[in-house]
Every structure is written in C-alpha cells, then in structure tokens.
C-alpha cells in the first residue's frame, strides 16, 4: 500500500456523521452544535492545508471565512441573490484573494507571518466595522436566508457534514497525489523543494488560495446556519481557536483538524461555563498538548514509536 488512503478520511467523516445522526436529529441544540462543529472543521481543515500541508502558519483563517461569509451575506440580503450564488462567490473570492496575499507574506519567518496574518485579521475586522451599511457596520447583518434545501433538522446535519466529507475527499486525494507531496516538501524543506524544481512561492500561493476557499465555504455555512453575521462572528479570536483545533487534532493529516474541531467544541460545550470556563478549557488544552503534542490522531502511532524508542534504549545499555 504505497498510496495514502485517499478516501479514508472522507469515509470516516461520513460514518461518524451517520452514527451521530440519531443522537442529533430531534435535539436542536446538538444539531446546532453539530453544524457549528462542521463550520469549525472546515476552518480547521483550512489551517491543515495552509500550515499542515504547505507550512504557512496563517492565523487569518477565520478572516478568510469572514470574507466568504460577508460576500454571501451581502449578496443575499442586499441583492436578494440565491444562497447558492453566494456559495460560489464565498469560495471564489477568498481563494482569489489568498494567492497574492500568500506571495506578499511568504517571505516572512513562521512567527512574523503568524503576527502579520493576525494583524491582517484585526484590520479586516476594523474594515468590516467601519464598512457602514454595506457590511452592516458594528451591528452586523441579520436575517440571512437559511441553508438552502428542505427545512428539516436532519438536512442541516447532512448538508454541513456532507460539505466536510466532500472537502475531506478532495483533500484526501490532494494529500495522496504527487502535487500534494510537492506542497508537503515545501513545508518540510523549502530548499529541497526548490532543488526538486518546485516554485515554492507559487506553491504557497496555491495552498493559501485553496485554504482560503475552504475557509470561505466554512464562512458560507456559518452565515446561512446562524443567519446573523457580525464583525465578532468570525474574528481573529476564531482564527486562533481553529488553529488550536487543527493542532490538537493533528495538523498534517486530513482527519486531524476535523477530530480537533469536534473535540474542542465538545470540550467547550461540556466543561462548566461562566467565569471559570477559561481555567477548565485552558487547563484541558494544556493536558492534551502535553499528552499528544503531534495531535490526537497521532496518539496510536506515538505509543508505538515510544515503545520502539524504549526498546532502543534498553538495547543500548
């Protein structure tokens, strides 16, 4: 088995979504949570493509999602266009923006790039607030049409996880392809990649463009699911939390970011809330990072590797 199993992540997503369906349909709160998890999963997948696959530590994924979300929100409220028109625009606009943006920032070190993208998020946030009636300003846009399709609880679950599964399938195929291997080598070793004849600037642009498109899709789902969109909805704080999700799940696999999104959303839902919420959430996060710094999906492999290392040590002594 030389090929990475391209469709396995997507199949896993479908299987889990089907398994979870009976628990979720009939319970609107969990349905809501499930749709939100799907939004976060898409955003975390976007982190996966930009950072996990191509090594661009962008902390602006929620801002790309906001670009997509505002696009569809403005199209559907101001111009009364169908959400499906908005869907295309919400994916294309961030994707088109992502390429030159990546070329602009690609020369920075990891840390500078992270800071720069975070600042970009803040700037977009301010621009949206000051956008007046066009963006809804500080108050935001409300009354967005729902996700198109039958008005049933199950449909939302099917539609949102269907999107995640579709993206996972496309990414699974990308990750397994030689093209994906090229992106991975840009992440692992830009110099080596150059010596392989890869135009690393172009590759980074493509990766961030794809990532922004996926984030835009997440933004679309967010906008039409929540039906309200304000500057805080998909702000820099969300960018940081989806980065956490991707890292907690395992950033370099297709399934990892999805697992991370589900795990951390569950965590914030189940842990006690109010003033002390941050202590529980932050504390659990630290424990998870200590236990599995390469992500939850790496845990089985990690246990194996640890055993191997211990065995090696014993042999050495």
């Amino acid at each position: 088995m030389r090929r990475r199993p391209a469709l396995l992540p997507a199949a896993t997503v479908v299987a889990l979504a089907v398994l979870a369906a009976p628990l979720i349909t009939g319970n609107l709160f969990w349905l809501d949570t499930s749709a939100l998890m799907a939004v976060y999963a898409l955003l975390a997948l976007s982190v996966g493509v930009s950072f996990g696959l191509c090594g661009i530590l962008s902390v602006a994924q929620a801002s790309f999602a906001a670009l997509g979300a505002y696009t569809t929100a403005i199209l559907s409220t101001r111009y009364s266009l169908h959400p499906l028109v908005g869907l295309a625009a919400a994916i294309v606009l961030p994707a088109v923006f992502g390429y030159p943006f990546a070329r602009l920032i690609a020369g920075m070190s990891h840390l500078a790039l992270a800071v720069a993208t975070l600042l970009f998020g803040h700037m977009l946030d301010i621009a949206l607030r000051e956008g007046g009636d066009f963006t809804g300003g500080y108050i935001g846009l409300s009354g967005l049409p729902p996700v198109p399709g039958p008005d049933s609880a199950t449909w939302l679950h099917v539609a949102s996880w269907g999107m995640v599964a579709l993206v996972a399938a496309l990414l699974g195929s990308l990750y397994a392809s030689p093209y994906g291997a090229g992106m991975r080598s840009v992440r692992n070793d830009p110099m080596r990649a150059t010596a392989d004849g890869i135009d690393i600037g172009h590759m980074r642009g493509v990766a961030l463009s794809v990532a922004a498109g996926i984030a835009g899709l997440g933004g679309w789902l967010y906008a039409h699911h929540v039906s309200y969109l304000g500057p805080e909805s998909l702000g820099p704080a969300v960018s940081i939390s989806v980065l956490l999700m991707a890292m907690v799940g395992g950033v370099s696999t297709v399934l990892g970011p999805i697992v991370g999104a589900v795990a951390l959303t569950l965590l914030s839902t189940l842990l006690p809330g109010a003033e002390a919420a941050g202590m529980f959430y932050g504390g659990t996060l630290l424990l998870v990072l200590l236990a599995a710094p390469k992500g939850l999906t790496s845990l089985p492999a990690l246990a194996g590797a640890q055993r191997g290392a211990d065995a090696g040590k014993e042999n050495g002594r």
């Binding site: 990308l174 392809s177 093209y179 994906g180 090229g182 080598s185 692992n188 110099m191 150059t194 010596a195």
Partner: protein, 516 residues
C-alpha cells in the same frame, strides 16, 4: 550542449568564496571537483544551481546564460543536485522521497490532484512507475516502504541520488554522494552514475572519496581556497604534488621528513597503549534522529597522549566526538576514570572534564567579546585558580589579551582557534576533543597550533584529535585511528606517517576493514 561556469566569483560579506572559477561539463561526461574543506566546492554547486548569487561571471546552459533565473527554473531546465547533508523528512517513506524528485514534471495541476481526474491519476501512476524503476536500479526496492529516518546515512545518500534522477535531468550535480556509503552501496552508485552518463546525462561530482572519484570520473578539477588549482584526467591529477598537498594537508610534502622524528619522539614519551586509559569508549554508535553515522567504535584515550582520528569528510569523526561529549545521541558505553558518563547531559560531562572543541571553533560565542567568552568558560574557578589560569593563558595565547574587547566573530581564524582552545583549557578538562582544529586556517598558524597542543598534552590532558589534515595529526599523535564509512578502517601507531602510500589507502577507504 554543455553546462559551463565561466569565471564565477562568489562573495559572502567580505569573504571571497569562489575566485573566477571556470568549469565545464559535457553530456555523457562525469566531471569531478575535489578539494579540501572550505575550498568552495559546495559554493560552486550553489552558484550553478542558483542558491548563491554571483558577484561576477556567468553560468551557461547550451550557451544560454541562466544565472539570472531562480533556482527552480534552472531545475526545470534540466539541472539537478543532491545535498552534502541529505535534506530529508525522517517521516516520509523511501518511495515518497524518491518520487518527490519527479513532481516538477507534472503537467496536471491542483484540480487534477483534488478531483483525481483520469489524467491526473495516469500521471501519478506514471511517476509511481518511474519511482519503482529507479528503486530497482538502485537495488533499493526492498526498502520502498521504510521510513527515511530509520535508514543509515549511506542509503539516504543513494536515495537522494535516485531523487535527483527522477527529474530526468540533463545535468546532475552530486554533492559528496559516496560519503558514508558501504562498498556495496558505492558500487551501486557507481553503476548508476555510469548508466546516467551512458544515457547522455552530464554528471558533476564533488567527492572526497578519491578511489570513487578516480573510478567514475572522466575529468577532474582541484579547487583550493576558492581557486582552480589544476585539472585534467584523474590518473594524471592525483600524481601532481599540488593535489596531494590539497588532499592530505597543505604541508604534508614538506613536513613529512621533519614530522616523523617528532612524532616518534612523542611516541617514545608516551607508549601507544597505556595500561590504564583515562577514557574508554566501547561500541559507541552515534545517531542523528534515526540516522546512524558511526558504528560500534572502540576508543581508549591515555592521560597525556594524543589519539588522532583520521578520515575523509563525512566519515563520522565529528559525530563520534559529539557522541562522547553528549551533544549527539549515542549508544554504547563511555567511561572516564572508571566512572560511566554516557548517561549524563552534555553540560554535566563538561563538568566531569570532557571538553569538546567542535569544528570551525563551535565552542565560542561569536557575538560576545573575547573577555566575555573567557569569563564564561572560567566562571567556576575560584579566585586563586582564576589568577593562575589567567597567567597561564596569557603566556600561552598572548594575542588574545591584545584583542580582549573585540567580539569573537571579528577575530581571524587562527585567533578564533586560540580562543577556542583557551576556553577549553579554562574548563580544566581531563579529556580534550579537538575537531579539525586546522580547518580553514592558514598553514602559518599550524606551527603555533602544534606547539599549543603539545603544551596541553604536557599538562597531562588526554587529547582526541579528529583531522582531515593527516600530516598535521600525525605529527602529534601517539595512536592513529582511521575511520572510513563510519567504521574503524585502520588502528595503528604514529609510524604510519612514514608510509604515505598506506595512509592514503586507508584514508580513502581502500584499506581492508579492521579485523575485530
């Protein structure tokens, strides 16, 4: 139809790394560049490939100037290189590592990859097929699914060559591909290089392993400190004195007569094998991540004696010293004065008296002044010992007190080496590990350096000296251990200095492996 470098000059800051170097490779030809460390071989590669900018000169491919193009464009035009230190992802499989060399030939792009279109899939299958073919040619098919990190460095180098071949290059630049390869692996590599040449690919080779070079090359260029020293057919070049000088150490020729008696002197003072060695290493194997670089090496270091580790670049000398000092992961036992120290972290071993001076003066702090460097090294000394140490160093290294306020990075190479030794002595070592102290130094400094090391030994310190410069090492050594391909190839006394033929053979890895 040639690859040419014309009068290539490269500067790094004020340093002239390459000075008007010209070289030419024809299709189907194997051309090699040899030269000691720091002679500019890798810089030449970088200049040709676009990883280093030219100050003047030109790179031409089929007459077209390509030195303005970015590196990846040059690769797409048919140039390809390997790296001296293999750049690998330890997690990836051998199959993926080789396959990545073929990615640039993809015609289908992102959409084909995401949607797995028939065209994308057939292209991917084509690349996979070629990868399998290359694996078989390299006789590595059985390792296709092994992780890169688990392989010995020799295999990794071979894989790197395969990776370069995948791009169907017209010219291939191999940077020390044979370092660390076993004989069988070297043979596979030779076959691969010959096949490439016969298919019309031009090969440019940088290599220390002279036997390997003479076996495969059609043409040889000797570089020395950024200049072309000479060129011609391998058989002729190796007989020229300037080659021998560049290869075995710059004053090997002139010093051989003078050095032997001195070495013999030292040998008489301290017998080759001490009854009770100060430090004993048994079956030491060093590894970087998963890559093992030297294997099962035994080493005894006497008090007040010098053990010289000789061998070509990449043979595993530095890694062994790193393993002893605790900076490189290792297995095997290391005992100092009867105490096991192999479990200790590096800074504890330093406290026990193991002091390492890495190559290119790696123990000094470049941004800090000479005085600060020394104060750091002397910080554990009590007032009395400090005064004594200062006086001692003052006498040994008078230059350093003159330059006490300049930052270490502003010192000349020789002064830096003196500082590195002064810092090492300040730590009151019992064992001093010196890694290539002559590297990058002008021959004028060698005598000073030799005197200093003698003085150190005179103080009862055991010295392990890793050198490429065999002549320099042999002038000091009581015992000589020659390492080739990460293993001991010859263990002998200093008298080997008299037998230059044999030394050269062992050095080049031609001596039969040490009988256990």
């Amino acid at each position: 139809m040639t690859l040419m470098a014309e009068g290539v000059t490269v500067r790094f800051g004020g340093i002239l790394a390459l000075d008007a170097v010209s070289i030419e490779v024809q299709p189907g030809q194997v051309a090699s560049v040899v030269g000691s460390n720091g002679s500019g071989k890798s810089t030449l590669f970088n200049a040709i490939m676009g990883f280093a900018g030219l100050a003047s000169g030109a790179i031409r491919l089929d007459g077209r100037a390509i030195h303005e193009l970015p590196a990846h464009r040059r690769v797409q035009l048919g140039l390809c290189r390997t790296f001296q230190t293999p750049r690998i992802d330890p997690e990836s499989t051998v199959f993926d590592a080789i396959r990545s060399g073929g990615i640039m030939s993809l015609k289908s792009g992102l959409f084909a990859a995401c949607l797995a279109t028939p065209r994308g899939r057939s292209e991917a299958a084509g690349i996979d097929h070629r990868t399998e073919k290359v694996l078989e040619e390299l006789r590595l098919a059985h390792l296709a699914l092994a992780r890169m990190g688990e392989l010995p460095v020799g295999t990794i180098r071979l894989i790197d060559v395969g990776r370069a071949v995948m791009g169907k290059p017209r010219f291939i630049l191999l940077d020390e591909p044979a370092a660390g390869l076993s004989h069988a692996e070297q043979d596979a590599l030779k076959a691969q290089i010959r096949r490439l040449a016969s298919e019309g690919v031009g090969v440019l080779l940088v290599e220390h392993n002279f036997r390997f070079v003479s076996d495969v090359s059609d043409h040889l260029t000797v570089l020395d400190r950024g200049r072309v020293l000479g060129s011609g057919r391998p058989g002729e070049v190796s007989k020229r004195p300037e080659f021998v000088r560049s290869y075995l150490g710059s004053f090997a020729g002139k010093a051989s007569a003078a050095a032997s008696p001195r070495a013999a002197d030292t040998a008489a003072k301290a017998p080759a094998v001490m009854p009770m060695p100060l430090m004993e290493c048994r079956k030491v194997t060093a590894r970087y991540g998963g890559i093992r670089v030297c294997f099962d090496i035994d080493l005894d270091v006497p008090q007040a004696g010098v053990v010289a580790l000789l061998g070509a670049n990449g043979a595993g000398k530095s890694s062994l010293l790193g393993a002893i000092s605790g900076l490189v992961q290792s297995t095997g036992s290391i005992t100092l004065d009867g105490q096991r120290i192999d479990g200790l972290p590096a800074h504890r071993r330093s406290e026990c008296g193991i002091c390492f001076v890495p190559e290119i003066r790696g123990n000094i702090f470049p941004a800090m002044s000479v005085a600060e460097n020394l104060e750091l090294a002397q910080r554990r000394l009590c007032a009395q010992a400090l005064d004594r140490m200062k006086a001692e160093l003052e006498q040994m290294f008078p230059r350093l007190s003159e330059r006490r306020f300049s930052p270490a990075c502003m010192l000349s190479g020789g002064e830096q080496q003196m500082l590195a030794l002064a810092m090492a002595l300040s730590l009151k070592p019992r064992i001093l590990l010196l890694d290539e102290p002559t590297q990058g130094l002008a021959p004028a400094v060698y005598d000073t350096l030799e005197a200093v090391v003698r003085a150190i030994v005179g103080n009862g310190i055991g010295v392990v000296l890793a050198e490429q410069n065999a002549a320099f090492a042999a002038r000091l050594a009581n015992q000589v251990i020659i390492i080739a391909d990460g293993r001991v190839s010859l263990r002998t006394g200093a008298e080997i200095l008299g037998d230059r033929e044999r030394l050269l053979r062992a050095y080049l890895g031609a001596e039969p492996q040490e009988a256990a």
